[in-house]
């Protein structure tokens, strides 16, 4: 055996330190993806996060169990430095329902591609004689993180539908990368580029298991024709400001309650859209998105069949948000 085959880059202690850094990143990813699932409205993103929590947990577990083999305490996570902590705090900060794009790009456009880059470099520099236990973990994590990043890119592309959304994505990605650079990457000593596109490519078949086929968006054609006609007439009344005409669609006993429910949206209604329909026996709950100059509101109107046709038996304003926050 040539002595060249026994040369290496990292000491045992340095290797353990890097592994604690990796475990920190994988554990943070596992926890934040888990926490975000409930806060994320869009099904493709929600299910993407759900798919990956377990993979990240296994990566953290593999790294944590490797540590005692390197004379270190098992299952310890450690950030490379304070700047890395600042990076993860920034990554985790978008938690509003309208910040899904920031959540996806932070994890799938920045941290995971960075991990792929770092794992690939580490793998290339490990010694094949005395570091195979680390190499095996690197190979697995590298392959799975690469797959995750590709899946995230597909979901991001699907959700960032217009130029404004794509600009938001690019801006958040740039800001996160700047902070990650200050940290020197997850290991504190990573050199540029922190994300190397050359190591990221995967084929669509590899990504497929991470993507759940979600049903198409709600189609208002789901409304039965006679109900659709009644709902359309109500919407026209609301949009034209004809309160008397709108009230005619509401059962007399429900008018006061509905007037009170609509009060936060008082003022000119700029537009309405049917966004949901749910059956309660023979009754139908129609969900409307109502736009006024300052607020977007969602109302659920329970329609019931009467001798005069479909009428609203009850309704609630279920949420409002400022126009500036709505998509």
């Amino acid at each position: 055996m040539s002595s060249q085959r026994l040369s290496g880059h990292l000491s045992v202690d340095d290797s353990a330190r890097r592994i604690r850094n990796y475990r920190y990143a994988e554990e943070r990813l596992m926890r934040v993806l888990g926490g975000w699932i409930a806060l994320t409205p869009e099904l493709p993103a929600k299910l993407l996060f759900g798919r990956h929590v377990w993979d990240c947990a296994q990566h953290a577990d593999l790294w944590g169990r490797r540590l005692p083999e390197l004379r270190a305490a098992a299952h310890e996570s450690a950030p490379a430095n304070d700047a890395m902590v600042a990076f993860t705090e920034m990554l985790e900060s978008p938690e509003g329902p309208r910040q899904t794009l920031e959540r996806i790009v932070g994890v799938y456009g920045v941290l995971k591609p960075h991990l792929v880059t770092i794992y690939a470099r580490h793998l290339a520099s490990t010694n094949a004689v005395y570091e195979p236990p680390t190499r095996r973990i690197l190979v697995r994590c590298l392959e799975e993180e690469r797959r995750h990043a590709a899946a995230g890119a597909i979901v991001l592309d699907r959700l960032a539908r217009d130029a404004a959304a794509r600009a938001r994505v690019a801006d958040w990605e740039r800001r996160l990368l700047t902070v990650l650079e200050k940290a020197g990457g997850v290991t504190g000593d990573a050199t540029a580029p922190l994300v190397d596109p050359a190591v990221l490519g995967v084929t669509p078949e590899v990504v497929a298991p991470d993507l759940v086929q979600v049903p198409p968006d709600f189609d208002p054609a789901a409304l039965p024709a006679d109900l659709a006609a009644a709902v359309d007439a109500l919407r026209k009344s609301l949009e034209s400001g004809d309160d008397a005409d709108a009230a005619a669609w509401i059962e007399p006993a429900a008018r006061d309650a509905l007037r009170a429910a609509f009060a936060p949206l008082a003022g000119r209604i700029a537009g309405t859209r049917v966004v949901g329909l749910a059956a309660i026996g023979r009754q139908q709950m129609v969900k409307l998105r109502i736009e006024s100059p300052r607020a977007i509101g969602f109302v659920q109107l329970r329609w019931t069949q009467t001798a005069s046709g479909w009428r609203i038996a009850a309704g609630d304003l279920v949420s409002t948000e400022p126009v500036s926050a709505a998509p």
Partner: protein, 251 residues
């Protein structure tokens, strides 16, 4: 991110209509309909499948929150919860597929957030007792019934898919049994509160009293005793559950 988050932070696409289960049941009774799907028609099966799909969604969200909310919990506990997140994400996919198989669509029926509310308990032991043992135990009963109906109507797609989900649920209940014991070891008061929480759930969320002791042919939803034993329930616990269903309130 807050630990835990408020109930009303649960995020949904606009197409979902959210309502209290009690209100939905009452509105159906007013129309002369059973408060819960009786599985007597394909539409009724579709409504049940939709209810399970949103339950799986909430189970995934709840397990995900548990991974986030308890960073100081034992690592193996976190691993079990992370595994559960993955399982639930597959269950959502399974039930989305079954919904399509039955000609349904997401949002076709109102969503209630019973499971999610239980998943917001502040104590990890209460969460595993309430969600893993209480609600996932209920899921074992419901899935067992769905498999039985699928066999009766000759639908192998539903039968096989739900059977795999049931196998996972038994694992989740087993996790709940394990972690209820381990998290409360040496803390009798914490254990008492967690079990009390689970029993409240067993009594309250009983599908209108339709869950009973007896064979599938004789009762609307049969308590899945064998599945529950596999999942770590003792004979005494099953007996207590049977008794609680006899005095159960609607919902």
């Amino acid at each position: 991110m807050d630990r835990p988050i408020a109930y009303d932070k649960l995020a949904r696409e606009d197409r979902f209509v959210r309502m209290r289960a009690r209100d939905v049941g009452e509105l159906k009774v007013e129309q002369g309909l059973p408060p819960f799907p009786d599985l007597a028609s394909r539409e009724s099966i579709r409504e049940r499948v939709h209810g399970i799909m949103v339950g799986e969604l909430q189970a995934m969200e709840g397990a995900g929150r548990t991974v986030y909310d308890f960073p100081d919990a034992p690592w193996e506990f976190t691993m079990d919860m992370a595994r559960q997140v993955w399982d639930e994400s597959r269950h959502v996919e399974t039930y989305l597929g079954l919904l399509e198989h039955l000609g349904g669509r997401v949002g076709e029926f109102p969503e209630s957030t019973i499971l999610w509310r239980c998943a917001c308990a502040e104590d990890a032991a209460a969460r595993v007792a309430g969600v893993n043992r209480g609600l996932e135990g209920l899921a074992c009963d419901v899935f067992n019934q769905l498999i039985h109906i699928a066999q009766k109507i000759g639908d192998p797609i539903i039968e096989k898919a739900v059977d795999y989900v049931l196998a996972d649920e038994i694992t989740h209940v087993r996790m709940g049994s394990r972690w209820l014991n381990e998290l409360t070891r040496g803390d009798a008061e914490r254990r008492r509160k967690a079990i009390e929480f689970q029993e409240t759930i067993d009594e309250r969320f009983n599908l209108g009293g339709s869950r009973q002791d007896g064979h599938h042919e004789l009762v609307p939803i049969s308590i899945a005793k064998e599945a529950r034993k596999l999942a770590g329930f003792t004979d005494e616990e099953i007996e207590r559950l049977v008794k609680s269903t006899q005095r159960s309130q609607v919902y």
